[in-house]
């Protein structure tokens, strides 16, 4: 199997690569349109800030390529947010695969960012949580979130319920870091690779 990890300027992807190494998957880290298009699976990871990341994707024209991909695509953390319509983080227009806007957590009592292990609950159709319990713990670090809407496939509660996972056609997304979420995260990645 041919896995492409999309190369861009959002954070380091070492943890994602090591997670794939642990399950014996081979991958290419690339921003080459042809390599990405011909891959069996595409992973769109990321840790970073929305407007800087979108600017880079536009420069490389990846913002036009990614929404047209037909193979299974897994986006995590900022990758997931960039697949949504708009992010409140520096008022950034994103790629719009998921028809939902990203907003910032607001609370006077709870801490922001949301950091640590929180439980997620499968919601509607969720192909990546197969073989897992309906509720599982995964590791989050984020200040912005997608509200629950029709493509939400897992819900987490912090300040209010929000989308921990999204699923629409060939696009799969997780707000948490599957690559460092223990055995649960590993199973989610394995389920994605088995699609």
């Amino acid at each position: 199997m041919n896995i492409a990890i999309i190369k861009y300027n959002a954070g380091n992807v070492a943890s994602v690569m090591y997670a794939l190494d642990r399950i014996g998957a081979k991958y290419t880290w690339t921003d080459d349109e042809k390599v990405i298009q011909s891959a069996d699976k595409v992973i769109f990871p990321g840790v970073g800030e929305a407007s800087t990341a979108m600017a880079y994707l536009k420069e490389k024209k990846l913002d036009q390529l990614i929404p047209t991909l037909k193979q299974p695509v897994l986006a995590t953390c900022i990758g997931m947010q960039l697949l949504c319509k708009h992010s409140e983080e520096n008022n950034t227009d994103c790629m719009g695969v998921f028809d939902v806007n990203i907003t910032r957590f607001q609370s006077n009592t709870l801490k922001i960012p949301h950091v640590g292990w929180n439980s997620i609950q499968a919601h509607g159709e969720n192909d990546l949580m197969k073989g897992l319990h309906e509720t599982e713990f995964v590791y989050f670090v984020h200040s912005f979130y997608a509200p629950v809407y029709q493509d939400t496939s897992a819900i987490c509660e912090y300040i209010q319920p929000f989308s921990a996972m999204l699923q629409k056609d060939n696009f799969f997304a997780a707000q948490f870091h599957a690559e460092i979420s223990g055995k649960v995260g590993q199973k989610i990645i394995q389920n994605f690779l088995a699609l």
Binding site: A14, G116, I180
Partner: protein
């Protein structure tokens, strides 16, 4: 519900864990990679590796070690000790560390926090604060607690958050090594003023100490070293105990 985190800390010297352990079921208890993987399998929510020698010669050894740990360990892990520049942080993150912990270098030059947060994002920047109660007030210390600074602990905690730290690792030099419990009053004071998570460290001796630091101390995470290494407390048993007492835990 967001859970409270239990974090074992491993002291590293020249690529080996320093304080011995009595993990008889490990082939090599001095091997940080094997010990880290053991903890990850047995309930630890995160790991912290602290390079206590932190000389330039040891940097390459540390980066190599980080790579090996990252290959093995599937939970978040932090590396600290002697980090003083953007290049240091870049090398450790590229090797697979999820976060770095910085201490003396940001006391010397606080602007480094802003630079690191801008470059790498606040989520991977932990500022470690070593504090000691001297002449009626809590003061920030550096160099493993040997040197007092002119910074009051609460004021410094506020400043590091404002500059972009993602979390604070608060170690009380008054309780560290005593096993008499965490410094709950100061931890609570800082946690109440901060909107970023506080990892409490120093003084854990019993399971009750963790209950106290999460309730009285309002900490988001509890860190300890020797009590875990010597199996005085097993992490899974600790988490079960805390969960039964109503503290949210990842079991």
């Amino acid at each position: 519900m967001l859970t409270k985190r239990i974090i074992p800390c491993l002291d590293i010297k020249e690529g080996r864990t320093v304080k011995g352990t009595n993990f008889v079921d490990l082939r090599d208890a001095g091997d940080p990679v094997e010990l880290g993987a053991f903890y990850a399998e047995n309930g630890a929510d995160e790991l912290v590796f602290l390079d206590i020698t932190a000389t330039i010669d040891n940097r390459k050894t540390l980066v190599e070690l980080v790579k090996q740990v990252a290959r093995q360990v599937n939970i978040p892990f932090t590396v600290g000790g002697g980090i003083g520049s953007i290049e240091d942080v870049s090398a450790l993150l590229n090797a697979g560390a999820d976060k770095v912990s910085i201490n003396s270098s940001v006391v010397r030059r606080p602007g480094l926090i802003d630079e690191l947060a801008l470059q790498f994002g606040s989520q991977c920047i932990i500022v470690a604060i070593d504090t000691r109660f001297v002449d009626g007030a809590d003061w920030v210390h550096t160099h493993g607690g040997r040197n007092i600074t002119a910074l009051k602990t609460l004021e410094w905690a506020k400043e590091v958050e404002q500059r972009g730290a993602g979390e604070i690792l608060l170690t009380s030099m008054d309780t560290d090594g005593t096993k008499a419990g965490f410094t709950n009053t100061l931890t609570a004071e800082i946690s109440t003023h901060a909107s970023i998570p506080i990892i409490a460290s120093g003084g854990a001796g019993t399971m009750e100490d963790f209950f106290d630091v999460f309730t009285l101390g309002k900490a988001d995470a509890g860190l300890a070293a020797s009590i875990f290494h010597f199996k005085e407390i097993e992490i899974n048993a600790l988490k079960n105990y805390l969960a039964e007492k109503g503290i949210p835990m990842r079991i």
